[in-house]
Symmetry: C2
Subunit: 359 residues, 2 copies
């Protein structure tokens, strides 16, 4: 097991990563739990892991709320149903919520914890690789609005995160790879050594070797934590975490959030960012080939699906960012392990990259 402490002011918390952690929940979480504990999970995850977690919590009395699976349930209505259950159980401000599931469960449960009586404790027990390396660190919680994703939310740090690699056993292979895309991202923006490690250990990751997973998750969380700690409210360097995401969001929007998973769009977006970086920052072409090779080793897309046009993607990228800064800023690579946020690129180079990828 690895333990990582996320230092965020007076709200520092531990992340435990390894195999067999659900069974040790009582030991690991200890005083961070409450006499009033509610597990929130979904219809897919609960049948696999709820019993294990309950056993692991042993003598602590625990209630469970099961919600439907899927992004379409990340809503104020679901938030309200969690609050209703807390009030029906007469839970007070010392209660603890436990989010057992992927990003949707974590986001909506975390937001419920942020809001209930103006803030109660919660524990993240992420059961997807993406959630373990991304949403477990940073304290972002939210629900969607019909006019925009994650538009209603809060920054609220968990009191602990329990990332049990055993829970990845039931994760569909495609979702595992989508999580790997974000892992690769951390190497690219912040950690050349880790990128090298990934080049040698991708096979182990894809066959879910517990030691490989534990290391990759721990290093990913450490990289994210170091960035988030410098920029908790997301005003500056945290933007580096968006490597591949401006391209990726344009792809996802063009595909109407169907067909591709988020991590797949980010993978293609990173390939595009690497390509543009070669034109813009002097990122060596040979290094861009390493990026593509690693993404392909992870069986992630490095080309776009048919039917997307250069003009459409450019327009979507523009709308995405115009609303925020009035100017398109991208995360580009200077080296493997060193990314920059910049508006200093030629429009012609961006369009050339889009043309290459839209064929």
């Amino acid at each position: 097991m690895e333990r990582l402490d996320v230092a965020l002011g007076d709200r520092a918390y531990p992340i435990y990563i390894g195999a067999g952690l659900l069974q040790r929940a009582r030991d690991l979480l200890g005083a961070r739990l409450s006499e009033q504990t509610l597990i929130v999970s979904n219809t897919v995850v609960a049948p696999w892991y709820r019993e294990q977690l309950l056993e692991g919590l042993s003598d602590i009395p625990v209630r469970t709320l099961i919600i439907e699976d899927g992004e379409q349930h990340k809503t104020l209505e679901t938030l309200n149903s969690i609050i209703t259950r807390l009030l029906e159980q007469r839970f007070n401000r010392t209660c603890t919520l436990v989010a057992l599931g992927g990003g949707v469960i974590g986001d909506v449960t975390g937001f419920a914890a942020a809001c209930y009586q103006r803030g109660v404790n919660y524990v993240q027990v992420p059961t997807t690789l993406l959630a373990q390396v991304d949403s477990a660190v940073g304290g972002k919680t939210a629900v969607n609005h019909r006019l925009g994703k994650n538009m209603i939310g809060a920054f609220h740090q968990p009191v602990a995160v329990l990332s049990d690699t055993d829970t990845l056993a039931t994760l569909p292979a495609r979702e595992l790879r989508a999580g790997v895309a974000e892992i690769i991202k951390y190497g690219l923006i912040n950690d050349a050594e880790f990128f090298g490690w990934l080049e040698h250990n991708m096979d182990g990751l894809l066959r879910r070797d517990p030691a490989c997973l534990t290391h990759a998750i721990a290093v990913s969380c450490r990289n994210k934590a170091s960035i988030v700690a410098r920029d908790e409210r997301e005003d500056g360097v945290r933007a580096l975490l968006n490597l591949g995401h401006t391209f990726g969001h344009a792809i996802e929007t063009a595909l109407n959030y169907q067909i591709w998973l988020h991590g797949e769009a980010v993978a293609a977006g990173m390939a595009m960012a690497a390509h543009l970086s070669v034109q813009t920052t002097g990122f060596p072409a040979a290094e861009a080939r390493r990026v593509n090779a690693l993404l392909q080793q992870a069986e992630l897309p490095t080309t776009l699906p048919d039917g997307l046009s250069c003009a459409q993607l450019r327009e979507l990228m523009s709308v995405d960012k115009k609303a925020r800064h009035g100017q398109l800023r991208l995360v580009l690579l200077e080296e493997i392990g060193k990314a920059v946020v910049t508006a200093d690129f030629e429009e012609a180079d961006l369009e050339a990259t889009l043309r290459v990828f839209t064929g």
Copy 2:
């Protein structure tokens, strides 16, 4: 005009108090506003004061959202309608919300600001005396759930508060007096000199003399701010602000939140707390008579409406607090200007007080 700076860490903000402030909004708020500003108000307040505020904001482009008046609209649905408007206007994270109204408008608008894109700025422009002396300080925002008031919310400090005493001109006399109850509370718990000032200036307050109002609001806010600054997340001394409130909530619940205003129930609750204090803390009976006399000068109730029973109130007080501490704690007076939170009182004394007041 008085200016008071509420020192709450990196989220310090000014409260401006005085006559004619709406007209000076642009000058006073200046850089705290944004190119994207939304006023949220209600159907009662907006017809009186929206135009004045718009004129005061002069060249700043401002949108307005008018919601229905009343506590029954302090809901997640109203929150959602504010978020919808912000998204329809493509407001970004640099936008500013302006709450123009009483406590309901302040609470729901403040909560919308806390949640929108995980937190944007807001300005409080309270138009009731209660809001000016209470919710303007402390950063508590919330909406109600059908199973409990203020159960969904956040601590989120405004960037500024503009308390224009002119807006009290249209406040019903009974609501004015309900605000005075909270003003008296600050004298009782923290400020004997202010209590003395109130004994000499109650007539000026009730006839809405701007200088009297400005002083009373400023001193109230200063007292509340000094308590909140010591206890922003409400774990300790902030409980002193509940003087009269445990009795008051029991009264309000027994009356099903009809008939009496919150401030009226708090007034009677303070009379009861003073009575019990005489038995418990050695609070002098002569001082308890001063408390009653000042409440009566403010035309506030110091006796209970018919039909409430001792047993019913005792039970309601118990339920209210059992959920939180397992033990009934009350705010009692040691002197005028010095309150304590204590569980150290005889049950028989409490019941004697309840019997006296329920006749």
